[in-house]
Amino acid sequence: MNELTQTSKTRTLVPASSILEEKDHLIVQLEMPGVQKGDVEIGTEGKTLTIRGKRQQATESGTWLVRERRRGDFERVYTVDPSIDLEKASAELSNGVLTVTLPLKEAAKPRKIDIRSA
């Protein structure tokens, strides 16, 4: 019951994201407006990739005339294919969009096979 009444502090939002597939890596983009660089947390554990973004709570006081923006921290958990090398994952935050690059493991990369002429 406590969970129902506690709203603003514990609420997490799932950021909208897109996944792009490249030849040797995957790119995950997450929209996290208002999240500062130091407040992004990317964790890997086994097959899961957890991305968290904390937002500073607005402290302004006054009368809210419009209030549409959702409040809370962002969190999204992905289950990652074993062909991805999570150790080599990198991330970049710009303009409120977090871009995570997930390289494929060497063994999973497409390989060109030469045909020997007989």
């Binding site: 909208a16 994201s17 897109s18 996944i19 792009l20 597939e21 490249e22 995957l26 790119i27 983009q29 929209e31 996290m32 407006p33 208002g34 999240v35 500062q36 302004e60 006081s61 006054g62 009368t63 809210w64 005339l65 419009v66 209030r67 549409e68 923006r69 959702r70 935050l93 303009n95 409120g96 969009v97 871009t99």
Partner: protein, 146 residues
């Protein structure tokens, strides 16, 4: 006792011009709305004694993608969100996408007390913050009792 007009049909809205497709039309509209993705950025407007502050969530947009104008107390925002770019180049189609792209436009009616001459805008971490000061004449003034 009030006299109630007697209706033959059990559904009053189905009276006179009963179109068997209208229900489907209505349903379609509702259905579309259910899956409609927001293509307008969410915004907040806070009024304080000194000014009026507007925050708009515009992740992925740069300064050049936004256009802000104010006329009187009406603030308009225009912007274009481009398709996903990774490493600067345009991608054909993502494997999975929840992000929207396209043009958007929004107008916000601010209180009459704002001064359109005193506007500052700031874009940080995908959040646009527009501060419009209030006209000095409208600011709350303490009046001493003589």
């Amino acid at each position: 006792m009030a006299i109630i007009h007697w209706k033959r049909t059990p559904f009053p809205e189905a009276d006179v011009t009963w179109d068997s497709w209208s229900l489907f039309d209505q349903f379609n509209k509702d259905w579309d709305r259910l899956f409609e993705r927001s293509t307008v950025p969410a915004l907040d407007v806070l009024e304080t004694e000194e000014d009026c502050v507007i925050w708009v969530d515009v992740p992925g947009l740069e300064k050049k993608d936004l256009e802000i104008s104010i006329s009187g107390s009406i603030l308009s925002l225009k912007g274009e969100k481009s398709t996903q770019k990774a490493n600067g180049k345009e991608k054909e189609s993502p494997a999975r996408s929840e992000l929207w792209s396209g043009k958007f436009e929004r107008t916000v009616q601010l209180p009459d007390s704002v001064d359109p001459e005193k506007v500052t805008a700031d874009l940080k971490e995908g959040v646009l913050k527009v501060t419009v000061a209030k006209k000095s004449a409208w600011k709350a003034r303490q009046i001493a009792i003589a």
